[in-house]
Every structure is written in structure tokens, then in C-alpha cells.
């Protein structure tokens, strides 16, 4: 009887002991699991945050654009710009962050926001959303225009050319002291410097000119910086 009782107590003790050990190890395992899952959660959060930051930076980089045009108006820290596509854009300037330079005459000089005035031609870089640009930098520039057309008349006394441009409009091209004129040799396709007197009615010309700030000339009249002449013989050579 005693023997049977002893065996029963022993079995019960072993059972209780083993249960406790199992319970403890399960607790430890679950604690370890919880700790590792917490670590994983932190890692995931950091990773997601890093990914979001990288995506935001990438989006900002891809939004970084260049825009050029004339200043229409300036109010507070905002410039209204008419771009080459004739659309209006709003440029926001951060007075301590936006860098402003002048590139006039090919020389880069630091400038202030107050140096920008109405009608200035400016190049703006920065992220663009819709038609709003947060300017990283602004460059005051000279606007160069390239035009081409056929010479229809030459005024040799007042040094200007009448041309019919590619849009079938009549332009007046003033030849200034600084205007450089080149003629294409139709055999070699080399260009050589010539004088105004060598230009003939019927020649095709390619003109480079600067649109000056405050230019009071007529809309269809401009002073040529450089002219490239294609002699009419090029078009009748065959």
C-alpha cells in the first residue's frame, strides 16, 4: 500500500516538476520571441522611414527643374515669371537659402534679391509642383534668340537687312559695329568672315541676337550679334 502511495506521489511530483519546467521554458521562449519581434518591428520602422526619405529625396531630385523667362512682377518673396511657353509660373524665394547670381557677359557674380527687377530674363532651378517653383538658385541672364530667313532687301546706307523669316514674317536686322558676319563656302562648308557688302538679296541668313533689357526697338527689328550667310548659289547649284 505504502509502496503504491509512494509511486503515486513520485509520479505526481515528476508531473508537476516537468509542467513547471515546460511553463518556464515557454515563458522564456515567448519573452525572447517578444523581444525579437520588437527588434524586428523597430528595424522595419527604420527601414520604412529610410525608404520614405529616399523616395522623398528622389521625388525632389526628379522635380528639380530649370525654368527660364521674363519677370512679370515681384511681390514680397514671390516672382511671377512668363516662361518661353508663355505660361505664368510663381517662383518662391527663401531669402537666406536661394542663391542669386548674374551671368551677364559670361561672368558669374553674386547678386541680391533686390537686384532682380521687372522684365529681367532669369533662369530658375528648383523643385516644381504644378506651376510653383521653390527656387534653389536664380541666374540673371541675357536672352539669346536665333532666327533665320531670306534677305529680301538691303539698305546699304543705314546698314540693315529686310528678311522674310521662316514664319513668313518681315523682320529688320540691324548690322552693328560688333556684328560678325560669316559666309558658308558651298564647296567646303567652311565659314569665312565677310563684310556687310558681300550679303546679297536672295541669300539665306541665320541670325543670333541678344534681346536686351529695356529694348525700345520695334518688335520685328533687332541688332544682330552674329550672322551666318548661305549664298543663294547653294540652292541653285544643281
Amino acid at each position: 500500500m505504502k509502496k503504491t502511495l509512494f509511486i503515486n506521489i513520485l509520479i505526481l511530483s515528476l508531473f508537476l516538476l516537468s509542467y513547471r519546467v515546460i511553463a518556464q521554458s515557454e515563458e522564456a521562449a515567448s519573452a525572447a520571441d517578444a523581444s525579437s519581434s520588437a527588434t524586428t518591428q523597430v528595424d522595419d520602422t527604420v527601414k520604412a522611414f529610410r525608404e520614405r526619405t529616399e523616395k522623398a529625396l528622389e521625388a525632389e531630385r526628379s522635380n528639380q527643374q530649370v525654368l527660364a523667362g521674363n519677370v512679370k512682377s515681384i511681390k514680397d518673396n514671390k516672382i511671377t515669371l512668363i516662361a518661353r511657353d508663355n505660361e505664368e509660373y510663381t517662383i518662391t524665394i527663401e531669402k537666406d537659402l536661394t542663391l542669386i547670381y548674374s551671368l551677364i557677359n559670361g561672368v558669374k557674380k553674386e547678386k541680391e534679391f533686390d537686384d532682380i527687377v521687372k522684365d529681367d530674363y532669369i533662369v530658375v532651378t528648383g523643385p516644381m509642383i504644378d506651376k510653383n517653383v521653390n527656387a534653389n538658385s536664380i541666374y540673371l541672364e541675357e536672352q539669346y534668340i536665333l532666327q533665320s530667313g531670306k534677305v529680301t532687301d538691303i539698305n546699304r546706307e543705314d546698314f540693315y537687312l529686310n528678311i522674310l523669316n521662316v514664319d513668313k514674317e518681315n523682320d529688320l536686322v540691324d548690322i552693328e559695329i560688333y556684328t560678325k558676319i560669316y559666309l558658308i563656302n558651298i564647296k567646303t562648308l567652311e565659314s569665312e568672315r565677310i563684310g556687310f557688302s558681300k550679303i546679297k538679296v536672295g541669300d539665306t541668313i541665320h541670325i543670333v541676337y541678344k534681346k536686351s533689357i529695356g529694348d525700345k526697338k520695334e518688335e520685328q527689328r533687332y541688332s544682330a550679334t552674329r550672322i551666318l550667310v548661305i549664298p543663294q548659289e547653294y540652292f541653285v547649284k544643281k
Binding site: Q65, V66, L67, A68, R84, L103, G106, K108, V123, T125, S137, Y139, E141, Q143, Y144, I145, L146, S148, V166, Y182, I184, L189, E190, S191, H206, V208, T225, R226, L228, I230, Y234, F235, K238
Partner: protein, 142 residues
Amino acid sequence: MKKETIIAVILGIGFGLIVAIFMVIRTGTQNTKNTKTIANSISSAPTKQINQSLVTNLEITSPKDNELIKDKAVSINGKATKNSMIIIQSSVKDIIIKNKEINFKVDMPLSLGENVIQVSVYPDDKNVPFQKKQLQVYYLAE
């Protein structure tokens, strides 16, 4: 079967055959007409196709318009009609080339700031019209 019924059936089949033969002949005639039209249009097509095949629309593959350039020069790559006189003009320089192949490539120096570049193509064949394209690139890295 009655004699009248047999006659009616025979007449019906005969009428059906006549209509079928008429339709087959008519469809055949229409097909012949269509064939002739197609033949005419094909015979007049080749001259135009040959002319068109010689013309390549001016295309500037690089750089893109409004691109920021990191170097002081840019390589202008494009396509134009073979054997054309191509004038690449900017405020810095005029470059004149003749392209022996459709693809052309020219290195253009850049000035600091905005660079307006115009590519004009004068094909060797006077009947092919002059083409031009303009783009702006920016060199601001100095």
C-alpha cells in the same frame, strides 16, 4: 404525290438555282472591279513611297530640351535626311556639317547659363523641305 406539287417543287428549285447563279456572277464581277482598283492604286504608289523613304524627319535624340548639362560641352545627337547640310547654331558657335548617314553627332561648346541651340537641315534634294528644331540646355555648374 400530285403532278402539280412536283411541278411546283421543280419550279422552286429552278428559280433558286437561277437566283444563285445570278448572285455568283455578280459577286465575281465586283471582285474583278475591286482587283482593278487595287492594282491601279498600287501602280501609282511607288514613286511617292520612294520619295518618302529618302526623307527623314529631323530628330534630336540628345540632349533633351531644358536639360541641365554638367560639362562645358554637349554632344548633340540626331537623325536627318542623308547628305543634308546641317547647321548647328548657338550663341557660342556655328557648326556646319554634311551627314553621310541618317544619324549625326556634333560636339557643341556651352556658355555659362542658358544655351539656345538651333539645328537646321538643308537636304541635298531641293524638293525636300528645310527643317529646323530648337532646344534650350543649361550649364550652371561653374
